[in-house]
Amino acid sequence: MELEFHKDNSVGTVISESGSQSGASVPEVSQGRAPIFFNYHEFGERYYADVNSQYQLKEHDEDHALCMTHFPNVYVARGSPEFETTRIVRVPRRFEDTLDCPCFSTVIPGMEPGAITGEPVFQPLGVFDEDCQLFGYSSASPLTQLLSVEEFQEMVITINGFLRDAFYIYSWFNLVDISLEVLSLGLWRLVSKYIWRHPLLYLEDYVQQINQQGLKEKGLKIISPRKSGYLSLDFQIPRPST
C-alpha cells in the first residue's frame, strides 16, 4: 500500500525529486516565500493502529496522521535490553546562525516555526512500527515531558558554544596546528595530541558530565556528538508508554 502523506504546507519547502538540476536555474521553489525551519527528522504515517484498538491497523485521514518524533536507538545493539527500552529524540541542525560549524536547534522539538502544532505535550494516540511504539499527532516529542524548555535551551546553547569555538577558523588551535603541521613536514600530528588537546574533546567531556549529573535521574542521556557525527543532537529517552 502506497502511503501519501503531506505535511502542512507551512512545513518547509520540498523541491523537485531529483534535485540534481539546482544551480543557476532556481527550481519551482515558491519564489516569494522564504523557507521555514522545521524538524526534518519527523515523518507522518496514516496507516497505523489506534491506541485502544488492540493493534488493529487501519487507514486514517489527513487530520489523524501520526507524527514520528522518536526513533530506534541506533547507538546500542539491536536485541539488547537497552534497545527495547529506549528511544532517540533527534534535535536537528539549524543553519540561520552560522554555517561555519555544526549548530543544533535550540528550540525543543515540537516548538519549531514549521512544526505540526496540536497538543503542546506528547500524547500517545497511535501504535506504529515493528515494536509497537506510541506516537501522537503533533510534533511534540516525549522529551517535552522529561525536560523543561529552559533546561533544554541551556544545554544546547552550551553545546553550540563548544562547537563554535572548536570550528572557528582563526582560532589559535587551528592556526598553530596548521603552521606547525606544514613546517614540521607532517610530524606535528604525531605529537600534537599529547601537547594540545583538541577543543572538540572538551565537548565530549561536557556531555559526559551532564549525562552523569543532571540527566541520569531523569532517565535521559545525550549521545556523544562525536558518535553521531555531529549530524544531530540525539537524546536517549525511556520508551514512551501509556
Binding site: M1, E2, L3, F5, K7, T13, V14, I15, S16, E17, G19, S20, S22, G23, A24, V26, V29, G32, A34, P35, Y40, F43, G44, E45, M68, F71, P72, V74, Y75, V76, A77, R78, G79, S80, F95, E96, D97, L99, P102, D129, E130, F167, I169, Y170, S171, N174, L175, I178, E181, V182, L185, G186, R226, K227, S228, G229, Y230, L231, S232, D234
Partner: protein, 366 residues
Amino acid sequence: MVTFSSRRHRDVDSSRDDLVDLNRAHSSWLKAFYKWIITIDGDPEVNKGKAYRSLPNVSNYIFFLGGRFRTVRCCSNLVIFTGFNVVAPMVLFSIFETSKIWHSRDGYKLLLMFLYYFWAMCLSFFVRTATSDPGVLPRNIHLGQLQKNFQIPQEYYGTISLPAPQTITGDIQAKIELKYCTSCRIWRPPRASHCSTCEACILTHDHHCIWVNNCIGQRNYRYFIVFLASAILSTILLITNCSIHVYHHRNSPSKVPVTILLIVYGGLLLMYPLILLMYHILMTGRQQTTREFLRQEHTKNPFLTKIHRVRHNPFDRGNFVANVLSLFLQPRGISTVCPRERHDEKDWRFISIADFHSFEKMGTSV
C-alpha cells in the same frame, strides 16, 4: 589396566586438543596480524573490535597497519603514477646532481637545502592526502523505522530547503538544501556528499581525486593544498638548481645531459599542480568547492571554463581572500568514524542495510 589405558587415552586426547587449540590460536593470531597489516574485506559476521576491521563492510576502504593508512579498493592505479612522479625526479637529481652541486661552485647549497625541504614536504603531504580520512560520516544514524526492512519514509526523499543566515537578513532566496542519503541513511549536512567510489558520505566533499585514489574532503583539504603548493615549489627549485648547473656548463651542454633532462621533466611536472592550484584558488575565492563548480557549469571537463560567482550562495563571505581562507584553513574537526577506535558489538554504523524499499514498492504495486 583398562583404567590406565583409558586415562592415557584421555591424556593423549587432551594433549591433542591442546595442540589443536594452540594451532587455532596460532592461526588466529597470524590472521589478526595479517589483518593488522592490511584489511581488504570486512567480515559482516564479526562486527566488533576496532573499526578498521568493520569499516570495509560498509565502504570501499582498505586499511593498512591497524587503520593508520587507507586507500580505496583498487579503481585506478594512477596513484602509483603520481607517487612515481614525486619520487623519480628526486632520485635522478640525487644521483647525478647533488654531490656535484654540493662539492663544486656549480650551484648554491642553500637552494639545494630548500629543494630537499620542499620535496620532503611534497612527499609527506602526498602520502597524507592519499591515506588519511577525508571526513567520512557514520552510517545509519538517521534510521526512520524498523518495519519493512527499515523502509525510508516518503518525506525523506527529495531535497528540502531550510533558512540560511542570509534568509534572516532579508535575502529570501538564499537557502540551505539538505538531502537524505539513502545509502548511508543520514541527513547529509550542507556540502557533504556521497562518494560512490568510496561508498561513504564525505564532509565538505570537494572531489574524489583519481590521482591520489582518495576523496578530498574537509579533513584532508589542507593537506591536498599543501601537497600541490609544495609540489610546485619543489619543481621550481629543481628547475632553478639544474638551470644554474647548466649555466655553468653553457659552453659544453653535452656534458650535463641528465641535468637538461631534469629541466624538461620538471617543466612537464610543473603544469598539472600549477593549473590545479590556480583553479582551487579561483574556485574557493568564489566560495565554491570543485563539486559545486562542476554542478554549476554542467561540465565534466572544466579546463578553460570560467568560474562564475553563484548568486544567493549562503556560504559566500563577500570577500575573495576571506573566501579562500575559509576553505583552505577550514578546521579538520575530529574523525567521526575513527578506524583505530574500538566499538561495541553489533554497532549500527557498520551494518549495511540493503535498500529493499524499491523491491517492496514493486511488490505492492503488482
